[in-house]
């Protein structure tokens, strides 16, 4: 049903990747190993960028490749763009040292 290519790397992941530019409002189907997840894209997602495949509460780890890539700094809805505005890296954070 979806005309936009996406990539979901690991069953544990909370994000998927756009393999084409996806406009806001598009319905995409993310193919996982044993299921399909339908996501309504809330804002434009450019090629190579990520969107949430499930709701991520503020402070929760964000998972890609089945591993932690950072934490949510605000609550993130399904279909939202996940990037530096709402995801923070947790490593090498000298700025967080008191």
């Amino acid at each position: 049903m979806s005309e936009y290519k996406t990539l979901f790397l690991n069953e544990k992941d909370s994000v998927a990747m756009a393999l084409s530019d996806i406009p806001a409002g598009a319905q995409v189907t993310v193919k996982a190993e044993e299921r399909e997840i339908c996501v309504k894209i809330l804002e434009p997602i450019r090629f190579g960028h990520k969107f949430a495949v499930r709701a991520i509460p503020q402070g929760d780890d964000i998972i890609k490749y089945g591993e932690v890539i950072g934490a949510a700094v605000v609550p993130i809805d399904v279909g939202e763009h996940v990037h530096v505005h709402n995801l923070e890296g947790k490593r090498g954070r000298g700025d967080k040292v008191v």
């Binding site: 990539l7 790397l9 990747m17 393999l19 450019r46 090629f47 190579g48 960028h49 990520k50 890609k64 490749y65 591993e67 932690v68 890539i69 950072g70 996940v82 990037h83 530096v84 995801l87 923070e88 890296g89 947790k90 490593r91 090498g92 954070r93 000298g94 700025d95 967080k96 040292v97």
Partner: protein, 393 residues
């Protein structure tokens, strides 16, 4: 286990007196001090077959920082892609040319040392170095290539100007190539410690011994502590603005993509910057993520060829080692075609598998080892940069 490559691969290389094999036959004019780099450059304009590099180091350096720079110079000279070396000093610098020259000479190749102060200035020195170079280049041209096994190869791997495709296409393909190289008895270097922060546990789990796993965690901790001690968020430097534009959101995300370059082989050892691997197989060299500094470290460590993946595109090359540049996506491969050698964007488009591209990279390594010029060589991209670990005094 099924073999990744069904034949034993060989290439035509230059056997050196210490037994190592080069894929190029350069005469290197090696300035140990920034003050001598311009003179070295003039000589390469006069004498065909010579190469050099510009840098800003070699004086007022102390301790481990002094040692690391010295090791890098000597390693460049000892790289088997170099037939012979003319070490050029000013005369008064901390990195004395004759000391570097003596170190390189231990591997048995022709080495001569020249000092600008002793030779009475720039013009006399250019004439002196050029005369030595003419003879060395002619001697080098008499060396014949011979058939060598892939087990003689040390291949560096790196990624720079990464995008979100890096971890899906070019890096996993290079990982497959890395596994194929290891299967052939060769050596693959994984580098850029900074860009393994967040993925270190995956590598430590593949370590040959506990001591190797411990060193993997130790070099990660040291690298991460540098940003913590500075009181800065490492993301102010890495991922870079180009990485972020390409869709990478954090260093951890970039690292998990970067680590796929290492394939699935056992991690044999973790070595210092510009150090020669003591084992064959997969080794991790402790370098920063900076493209040119890690490239220089691996080449000084003896890599004859380097694989370099990029999503944003890069002109990078080395004065003495061919760098095969692999794009993560096809649009960039087409846009920057004079800089890129291979395209792994076919994986994203579903036209080729990771294994197919990995095999294609192996074939390209063979062609380049046999003498095929890379784009960076043709464009004279002679990049060089030393990872400095102390202040200049």
């Amino acid at each position: 286990m099924t073999r990744l490559f069904n034949e034993k691969l060989q290439f035509w290389g230059y056997r050196r007196s210490d037994g190592r094999v080069g894929v190029r036959n350069h005469v290197l004019i090696l300035p140990t001090i920034t003050c001598a780099t311009q003179t070295a450059q003039r000589v390469t304009e006069l004498v065909s077959g010579t190469v050099t590099f510009i840098h800003q180091h070699g004086c007022a350096q102390v301790g481990t920082d002094y040692d690391q720079t010295a090791r890098t110079y000597a390693g460049m000279g000892m790289n088997p892609n170099v037939y012979g070396v003319i070490v050029l000093g000013l005369g008064c610098e901390t990195h004395q040319a004759h000391r570097i020259g003596d170190e390189i000479a231990k591997c048995g190749k022709p080495v001569q040392t020249v000092s600008i102060q002793e030779h009475g200035g720039t013009l006399q020195t250019i004439a002196e170095v050029a005369k030595i170079a003419v003879k060395m280049v002619q001697d080098a041209s008499m060396v014949q290539r011979e058939l060598c096994d892939f087990s003689e190869l040390i291949v560096g791997t790196e990624c720079g100007g990464s995008d979100a495709c890096s971890g899906l296409s070019a890096n996993p393909a290079v990982g497959r190539t890395s596994d194929m190289l290891v299967e052939q008895g060769g050596t693959a270097i994984l580098a850029e410690t900074t860009e393994l922060i967040g993925a270190e546990h995956l590598l430590a789990n593949r370590a040959a011994h506990d001591s190797v796993a411990k060193k993997a965690y130790a070099v990660i901790k040291m690298m991460e502590n540098r940003s913590i001690q500075m009181g800065v968020d490492i993301r102010t430097g890495n991922p870079s603005p180009g990485n972020i534009e390409g869709g990478l959101s954090s260093l951890e995300e970039k690292s998990l993509g970067a680590a796929t370059k290492s394939g699935t082989s056992r991690l044999e050892e973790v070595i210092d910057y510009a150090q020669r691997p003591t084992k064959k197989g997969l080794v991790w060299m402790d370098t920063p993520g900076h493209d040119i500094e890690q490239l220089t470290g691996m080449v000084a460590g003896g890599a004859q060829i380097v694989l370099f993946t990029s999503g944003r595109g890069t002109p990078t090359g080395s004065p003495i080692a061919p760098v095969i540049k692999i794009s993560t996506n096809t649009p960039m491969f087409e846009r920057m075609n004079e800089n890129m050698d291979l395209d792994a964007g076919t994986i994203v488009d579903g036209k080729e598998t990771v294994g197919e591209v990995g095999g294609r990279i192996m074939k390209e390594i063979q062609a380049v080892a046999n003498g095929k010029l890379t784009k960076a060589e043709i464009l004279k991209q002679h990049d060089f940069g030393i990872w400095r670990i102390g202040p200049t005094f």
